[in-house]
């Protein structure tokens, strides 16, 4: 036994976006340990922004240098066209969300102090701030990058947990309404841990069937087709449960409204945009690369889930009275629209079309979401943000500009032409039609119409109702918040009026499909 151990080859250049984000996160932890309290925030802010910018720049460089033809890091991570596009979206959206998070009004002074106690008063008086938010955010973003580009199930599971664990904590750090925030954190944590246990058992069963956890290996083993089919089918279902929980598809959507409502709105903006993007990256990889040969088995189930998700999201959104819960159900409906693209598989050209549509939709939806939640942070009354819809009545008369921007975001969610949402929906539905999923598209269009009803209802409420005498005030936005709203509005307009460059980019990223 004198064989030499082969050192693994790791493509550091290709993986550098991830390495930069994780490195900065670790430096952030060290800052928490060593820097004096009054300096921490002023070090964290530039470090976080620079790390995200640096990661974005290296992502662009990676794309410019030509795509690799095989998976990196001994087959654990696939840095292919879709991965780079998804990374780009995640990093930009995270950057924008950090501008929103840089607002002391959002986060608790000291999370360990019991709400309403003298400890809490003391912490607020001393001007403490929970600056751990920044490294937590970087860890979550790093996890998203890994989750969306993992090429074996183990790396995907680790990415899933690295993404989720910091988010559970971030949800519990709201400055106002702390009971709601803590409750959101507990609910998200328990349900998230439950769903990832399902993912893990599914992974074990698939490993039992194929003897490998690499997505390519699983795909090849399906082609060979021998052994206990039952094992494989149950495993596929359980993997699906874990992944569909993360995107909030219909039987697993219950956490979304609670968590979105309870979490600090800046964190909601981050979660609502980036987690959906990362999770769709992972869903596509698992179901197309690994389980592509099992299409006939998972597609019917996915049809049902997509229909249920669109209908449940659109109908339950109507019954909501809280603006954040309404946006959460709208996000459920959007997950359903995106699932129609996941189902629309076929020949390579059809797959590329569906993939490019999904990538464009994710970019368009992410920006609009961040913008909408940024507006929500600005409408405040004595107890913090004014979440209840009745408080938004007549906002258009008090603050026409802000209400106008919000109305524009809502129209983009509804998919009105000249907004980014229109082209996103059009692309996904067109791909679904050419993939033979016409009934799905019919359901999609009908639920879009239902969804348009409640978006328009909010617009009517804002512009055609009289404002309440003690209505909420519009907080003077910080530079960061106004920058976020401006950026999101600009992206929504540009992607709606002049979408071609981004559509071309998505086409290019999708053309070679996933590397195996």
């Amino acid at each position: 036994m004198n064989g030499t151990i082969q050192a693994p080859t790791i493509e550091y250049a290709l993986l550098s976006p991830m390495l930069i984000v994780f490195g900065a996160a670790i430096i952030g932890v060290l800052i928490e340990a060593f820097a004096p309290r009054y300096l921490r925030k002023s070090i964290h802010m530039p470090l976080t922004l620079l790390a995200l910018l640096g990661a974005f720049a290296t992502t662009i460089l990676g794309a410019a240098n030509g795509l690799p033809t095989s998976a990196s890091a001994m087959g654990a991570v696939a840095v292919d066209g879709p991965a780079l596009f998804v990374w780009g979206i995640i990093l930009i959206l995270a950057f924008v969300s950090v501008l929103l998070i840089n607002d002391d009004e959002q986060f608790v002074a000291q999370a360990a102090a019991v709400p309403g106690s003298s400890d809490e008063e003391e912490a607020v008086r001393s001007g403490y701030a929970q600056t751990e938010v920044y490294p937590l955010l970087l860890f979550a973003v790093g996890g998203m990058l890994l989750f969306s580009s993992a090429n074996d199930l183990l790396a995907m599971f680790v990415g899933l947990e690295v993404m989720s664990l910091p988010l559970y904590l971030l949800c519990g750090l709201a400055r106002r309404r702390r009971l709601l925030s803590q409750e959101a954190s507990v609910k998200y944590f328990l349900l998230g841990a439950f769903s990832s246990a399902f993912f893990l058992y599914g992974m074990a069963l698939v490993y039992g069937y194929t003897g490998t956890v690499s997505l390519r290996g699983i795909g090849d083993a399906l082609g060979a087709g021998s052994g206990q089919e039952t094992l494989l089918l149950i495993g596929t279902a359980m993997l699906g449960v874990g992944l569909l929980f993360k995107i909030g598809a219909a039987p697993f959507q219950a956490w979304k409204p609670d968590v979105y409502q309870g979490a600090p709105t800046a964190v909601t903006a981050l979660m609502a945009s980036t987690v959906l993007v990362a999770a769709f990256g992972a869903v596509l990889r698992v179901f197309w690369v690994a389980l592509g040969g099992l299409e006939w088995n998972w597609q019917p189930v996915m049809w049902g889930i997509a229909i249920l998700t669109m209908v449940v999201g659109a109908i339950l959104a109507i019954t909501q009275t809280d603006i954040k819960r309404m946006l959460a159900y709208s996000s459920v409906a959007h997950a359903g629209f995106l699932l129609t693209g996941v189902i629309a598989t076929g020949a390579a050209a059809q797959n590329a079309k569906a993939l490019s549509a999904i990538l464009f939709y994710l970019a368009a939806y992410g920006f609009t979401t961040v913008g909408a939640f940024a507006v929500v942070t600005m409408v405040r009354d004595a107890g913090g943000e004014a979440g209840h819809l009745s408080r938004w009545a007549g906002l258009g008369k008090r603050s026409p500009f802000l209400a106008g921007v919000f109305a524009f975001f809502l129209l983009a969610f509804a998919g009105i032409p000249l907004t980014s949402g229109f082209f996103g929906k059009y692309a996904v539905f067109a791909a679904a039609v050419s993939g033979g999923a016409v009934p799905l598209v019919v359901v999609g269009v009908v639920s879009s119409a239902i969804a348009a009803f409640f978006y328009v209802r909010v617009i009517v409420l804002m512009f055609f109702n009289d404002p309440a005498a003690d209505g909420p005030s519009i907080a003077v936005p910080t530079v960061g918040t106004s920058a976020v709203v401006a950026l999101a509005a600009a992206a929504t307009v540009v992607l709606g009026v002049f979408p071609q460059p981004v559509l071309d980019l998505a086409d290019q990223a999708a053309s070679a499909l996933f590397i195996r």
Binding site: L165, Y168, L169, Q182, E183, A193, L200, Y201, D322
Partner: protein
């Protein structure tokens, strides 16, 4: 003869899943989740033995580390809510609804 271990792992997973659904104390719910993760580990190690490769055993180590990290985060959150409400029952946390 690996079947017995697989049956045991399925049983443990089922006990954990049922526990998550019916128990009311957040700590116990969380312990049931951990039981599910350990059931996964048993399945991984068994399948590794069956296939004669080491992947499954390797994964078991990763799962243990992830589970440890999850305990850190989970207990922090549960302790936080217990100190606020003087109760760790998941039924008492019912403010978030439409």
């Amino acid at each position: 003869m690996t079947t017995h271990y697989l049956v045991l792992s399925a049983l443990l997973f089922a006990i954990g899943a049922v526990g998550v659904l019916i128990r009311r104390n957040a700590i116990v719910v969380f312990m049931c989740v951990e039981l599910m993760l350990n059931a996964c580990n048993l399945a991984f190690v068994t399948f590794a033995r069956q296939h004669g490769n080491l992947d499954g055993q390797l994964i078991a180590f990763f799962v243990m580390v992830v589970a440890a990290a999850e305990v850190v985060v989970g207990l922090a959150i549960i302790v936080m809510i217990f100190r606020t409400r003087r109760s760790a029952s998941v039924d008492d946390a019912n403010l978030l609804k439409y």
